[in-house]
């Protein structure tokens, strides 16, 4: 086990500890989205996925 792995793991564990209470807060206080709201999120996300696939194809030539 090298120091890089230990350092990376320590950073990620710190992130988990830091984010967990914020996640619980966000889960409790975030408003619920309607189907229409989620569609408004899915459309740009699908565009991002398509764009990333396009970039991979482009780099592969």
């Amino acid at each position: 086990m090298d120091w890089l792995k230990i350092g990376s793991a320590a950073l990620l564990i710190g992130m988990l500890i830091f984010i967990y209470p914020r996640m619980r807060h966000a889960m409790k206080h975030s408003p619920k989205g309607t189907t229409e709201d989620w569609k408004g999120f899915i459309v740009p996300l699908a565009a991002v996925i398509g764009f990333v696939i396009f970039l991979i194809m482009m780099v592969r030539g």
Partner: protein, 221 residues
């Protein structure tokens, strides 16, 4: 239509204030991105080791968690955000140097791709004026799952899991860009320094994940 109604119902002062926050955020974001590109260049030219990069990243993240929230409401928040973005830029230097040595076009493609994704998503949120505040819980859970999977993969070293994490990071960070931009538009975020930090992290994570994906999937082998 709904967006226009919500704007019309808000007082003029509130809209002006929101526009000012948005403008200040994008100005500061562009400056911090340029500064982090400069520190990444320094890191590459100094041939900084991965260990140095990791230390810079850890110091940057610690400052982001503990120093920035205390200084974001004062003028000292500006040097702090530059220090954080500079350290994070320095932190990715060794990784960028590796990909530059393997195939420089991958780095350029990842850079351009990140720019297109950020501008596209910001433009979408700004023009549609949709409220993405409902995504807060979902994005935080997604982030927690990604961090958990990354932690697991440090010890297991499964390439497929690493690529899955990179793809998931791009999706979650895209969601964060929509969420943060919508928060700026609807007055949820009124501090442009905190908004800059959040958008900067999303952009940085998209860039590194895209670099990883293109490096792994875009090769000839």
């Amino acid at each position: 239509m709904l967006g226009q109604q919500s704007v019309a119902s808000r007082p003029v002062e509130s809209i002006l204030s929101t526009n000012k926050v948005i403008r200040s955020t994008y100005q500061l974001l562009s400056m911090t991105l340029l500064f982090s590109a400069f520190t990444a260049y320094l890191s590459i030219s100094m041939q900084a080791s991965q260990g140095m990069g990791l230390v810079a990243t850890i110091v940057g993240i610690v400052m982001l968690w503990f120093v920035l929230p205390r200084t974001a409401n004062s003028a000292s928040g500006i040097p702090v955000i530059f220090a954080i973005t500079g350290l994070l830029g320095f932190g990715i230097g060794p990784m960028v140097a590796f990909y530059l040595a393997v195939n420089p076009s991958i780095v350029m493609t990842a850079l351009g791709g990140t720019g297109v994704i950020f501008l596209g998503l910001s433009g979408y949120a700004l023009t549609t004026r949709k409220d993405f505040s409902f995504m807060g819980g979902f994005l935080m859970v997604g982030m927690l799952v990604i961090i958990g999977a990354s932690l697991l993969n440090i010890f297991m070293g499964i390439p497929a899991l690493s690529l899955t994490v990179s793809a998931a990071v791009i999706m979650i960070m895209s969601g964060f860009i929509l969420y943060q931009t919508s928060s700026l538009i609807h007055g949820g975020e009124t501090n442009y320094i905190m908004a800059t930090a959040s958008l900067f992290l999303s952009i940085l994570n998209i860039f590194t994940s895209l670099l990883h994906l293109l490096g792994a999937l875009g090769g000839d082998d």
